[in-house]
């Protein structure tokens, strides 16, 4: 059994990790950290975890207090900026580390001030990390021990877009990603902006264009496929629901290409991937509810007759494939386990 620690366990991704690892045959949870709730148990704060034998009764401890615990792997759900230090410490002690924060997602430390408004606390650590959506970047894990787990929006955008770019199917002109996310993406915080009466019965756009902090990792990863980068336009929206992201991509077609070729390309790219399914035209369009609480993503392509653009829709659960599920998938790969372990169905 691998000894697992969860840093910052009292947010929504921490709780989701506890739920997923409960079903994982090789995971023991040996610590859960929280600065604000140290001394309480995780299941006192989240009574929904009371049936989870691996965390039930486990006392939350401060990160400092957890530093000396022997672990095989650490998942960090600490906030951006606070995570890097703790991750590198555990890395030095020999643990596998999967960081769910953004602290290791960007390769170039100069990008942090632009997207996160602060200087990176440990820029020398960036070179040790790999950014990895397993279905797209699995080969990066070879020899890796520190994974920068991708953001939820980027996963929903890159999964449908990267295979199309790799195959040269995307034309020039802006690629538009219109994304819609449930409220858990805002984190577990006391904010007026996420209070029930502000969110309920309202749908809104925010940080439209190129201003959302997830743009940094998307532009980086798109540039890794297309030298010179992709003119991505990204508009996130807030949906009055707890979880799920749907991204509607408008993809310009390379000359002579068709939407049907895009669908076929995605189907081929994900043919052997248990977590990514490309819907056929008679299966209708994706809904976030179809992948809720699973590590699966559904993709669909809509052809537009007489237009040189296609519509590509992706759905995933922002807390699972967009965060904790993908983190476990990455850890499985790091550890030599089947990627699906603990993650099915």
């Amino acid at each position: 059994m691998a000894r697992i620690g969860i840093l910052g366990a009292t947010g929504y991704t921490g709780v989701e990790l506890a739920l997923i690892l409960e079903h994982h045959p090789h995971a023991d949870i040996v610590f859960v950290s929280s600065e604000a709730s140290a001394g309480r148990t995780l299941d006192a704060i989240f009574p929904g975890l009371r049936g989870c034998s691996k965390v039930s009764g486990l006392l939350l401890r401060t990160a400092a207090d957890c530093a000396s615990v022997a672990v095989d792997a650490v998942f960090s759900c600490l906030p951006h900026g606070a995570s890097a230090e703790a991750c590198l410490d555990f890395l030095e002690k020999g643990a596998f580390v999967v960081d769910l924060s953004a602290d290791f997602r960007l390769h170039d430390p100069r990008d942090y001030p632009r997207w996160y408004g602060k200087v990176h606390p440990r820029p020398e650590g960036l070179a040790k990390a790999v950014y990895c959506i397993p279905e797209l970047h699995r080969e990066r894990l070879s020899g890796a021990r520190l994974v920068a787990n991708p953001g939820c929006y980027p996963t929903s955008v890159l999964l449908p877009l990267v295979p199309l770019l790799r195959r040269g199917l995307v034309g020039t002109g802006p690629v538009i990603a219109d994304s819609k996310s449930g409220v858990s993406g805002m984190g577990r915080k006391a904010l007026l902006a996420n209070s029930y009466c502000e969110v309920n019965e309202s749908f809104s756009a925010y940080k439209a264009g190129r201003s959302h902090q997830h743009m940094g990792e998307m532009l980086q990863e798109l540039s890794a496929v297309v030298p010179g980068g992709v003119p991505l336009v990204f508009t996130p929206h807030l949906v009055p629901m707890e979880r799920g992201i749907l991204t509607t991509l408008y993809v310009p077609l390379a000359p002579g290409r068709t939407g049907a070729e895009l669908r076929e390309a995605l189907a081929q790219a994900y043919r052997d991937e248990p977590f990514v399914e490309v819907l056929s035209p008679d299966e209708g369009l994706p809904a976030t509810g179809h992948v809720s609480r699973s590590n699966r993503a559904h993709l669909a392509v809509v052809e537009l007759p007489e237009q040189d653009v296609a519509v590509v829709v992706s759905v995933l659960d922002n807390l699972v494939k967009g965060a904790s599920g993908q983190a476990v998938q990455n850890w499985n790969a790091l550890s030599g386990f089947p990627e699906t372990l603990g993650l099915a169905p």
Copy 2:
């Protein structure tokens, strides 16, 4: 006082009309029709209307039974296909008619089979109708007595787009309208697809590309501005909330144009319009909740540095500015009343 009849009063737009006309100083409601519920009162079916003096206790009657009632104006909330006949009958008797169905929205009878799957029942009546979003087409009302009240999605798309096209600010390339609607847009029907457990906690795309029936009227109205038409791509989505539409438009800029010029153009176009407000950049982005239960629309433009596309966002309440509110606004204009009568705030 004008004598008003409401055909098909037991759907959501019928109820909304009753609520709006309750506040209208010149409206008396003299009939409300329903085939399925004839003999009952409207407020027995909708107890929320019990405080509305104008409909309280009013018996629902069949449309046939209402045909002989003397009225000054009729609002038809009958389904597509069933509405044309009744509207033309009341028109012949001298009433003003505002048809909330699609039966008079398309000028060319050959377009009906394509978008609505059936032959128009009274094609000779099409020439008598004007399609009118008052802020865009007010001049069409001159001499008119039959108004085809625009659809909810088209209102949310045309309000921000038409002024930009008229001023030549839109470049070539696809114009993308990514729309999100609350569930009341599906109507008041016993369907599995609109049942609570199917809709709640899920966000989905449907009829993506150019297949939604509202494409017909959008393409027609865009062609009226740009000869040859506009390459519109339209994807509607279903939001787990009752009411509201948010449309995110991605508009290619004409050469040399900027997003700021788009915002200025919209601000100028709607400067004197009480129901349309263009937000300034420091006011944030629109949310459907901001215009819920009002006849107002909010627009915002997001400039994208170094991109030749701008993001334009619109919000409105699909049952008010997208249906019954706009219908009353149209009737006010037909009748020579101030357009805002009964519709503020």
Copy 3:
């Protein structure tokens, strides 16, 4: 036109007051106060108010800054404890005052520490106030100038219960009030407890038994009807919705009495009241949606064959009949206007 001030205008009851007074023919709003948002406009914070001509553009000012404004009436939506002082100041200057906080609801200053955890700041002011649900206590308004506007839960409990007690229809044994409220009852605050993901898809009980602070005013008002008091048991619950309260009362019958007599008694008590309706058995049971955004309450009585208890159900909108609507109703009565002014439908 009466000059109206709203203290603490940026909470949900303040916004609801602005919406209601917009329709009131005799109300001008001359100030809106906020400590945290002074200098901004109310409709910058609540874009939904932009169509409201009476507050549109009105700058929020601190309460201190508003103290010198000449007003005919003040509605205080300040928090408990902070409201008394400001209310008494305006009262001394000759204004009518309706206090929506709890600061004047209890007659006996010794009750404040028990229910609100602090000593009353101005106990000498309590004798000047009247606690008034107009349908039950209208006569108390004679000569009054300061009204303690009742709480939302107490209104939902007292409206159905007091007429039954007055007529001697209630037997001995506990009277059980099982109440369910929407989330707006928690106020507009940045709390984890009211955040979307904590509230959504969950239903919970809280402060069961006799511990909720609204017990104080309920016990006081019940003792005013039944010397010695009523053994009330009260359990509030939180419903994942924005607004509305439904209270299910289990009322022991006085010997020989029937549920039908209870219904008849309520029907008689509210026969001439425009805001309270007693449903007949064939009209089904109340739903909060039926009275949403209205000042109306619906009551229903269910008879239990062979049981000496009856079920009485009430619904109202906690922000309207349970707060701001009733406040305007009280102010109308104070001012000699028809109680319904601005409140229909």
Copy 4:
């Protein structure tokens, strides 16, 4: 591996069974039946099941078509009235049968017309069935092969109430059960009453008093504990959420008894039960979200000083502990497996 068939698999309880059995180490699913959707696969209708290897790709067949399939156990999710016949057929062929319908819940065939409005189709089969909430009636399973799986409301009422009655802690006078259920309790049907816009933002009471069909089994089971029966009053309510039931019980205390003794009695009764937890006073009150998607129930007791009644609150997930989870628990017990198999956490 046990060969399992699911009759009526396309309702919410059928889907929940498929999800639960996916995790069950000894269950193979060999058929799923549906009259309306025969020929399609279950995961075509419910894309959320696509990751479930045990049903993925399995074709739905008519019940008649499934009759010849060799099975070790059958779960029937058929509607009331339609289930009995099929259950008895499989029983005769030697299968264990767990019937989630009401067809075998009442011992006396004369009770069916009263509560279900029709004569029982196979009254001679009633004697073969046992009604079983395992924590209360486990001993009834000895030798049984046909289990009448209890209703969701009855499970939420009997779990907290029966142990108190057995220990003689309940006094005379009405026992009040005020229950609140999510919308999935209405089943998966195209009804106006369960459509999103009718349910959302509204909370309502229905079938108050003693008229709900679940009264039949509750009265029967209470009479089994207290000769002469218990004067139960039961009011169900509809909550705008998908799943979960919270029942607030008002229990008269036997002379000299206290709420603390009730809590202690429940704690003792469920001390060794993995699925039922009795909260201590410092743990707060239950919320349905705490047990969502689990087979667990949480109970809490609130003592009322100076009152001879106590408040007891229970929560469970109506689709799991209130239906499919309890069905698997019953099947586990029938089959000699640990009751928790496939059901944790």
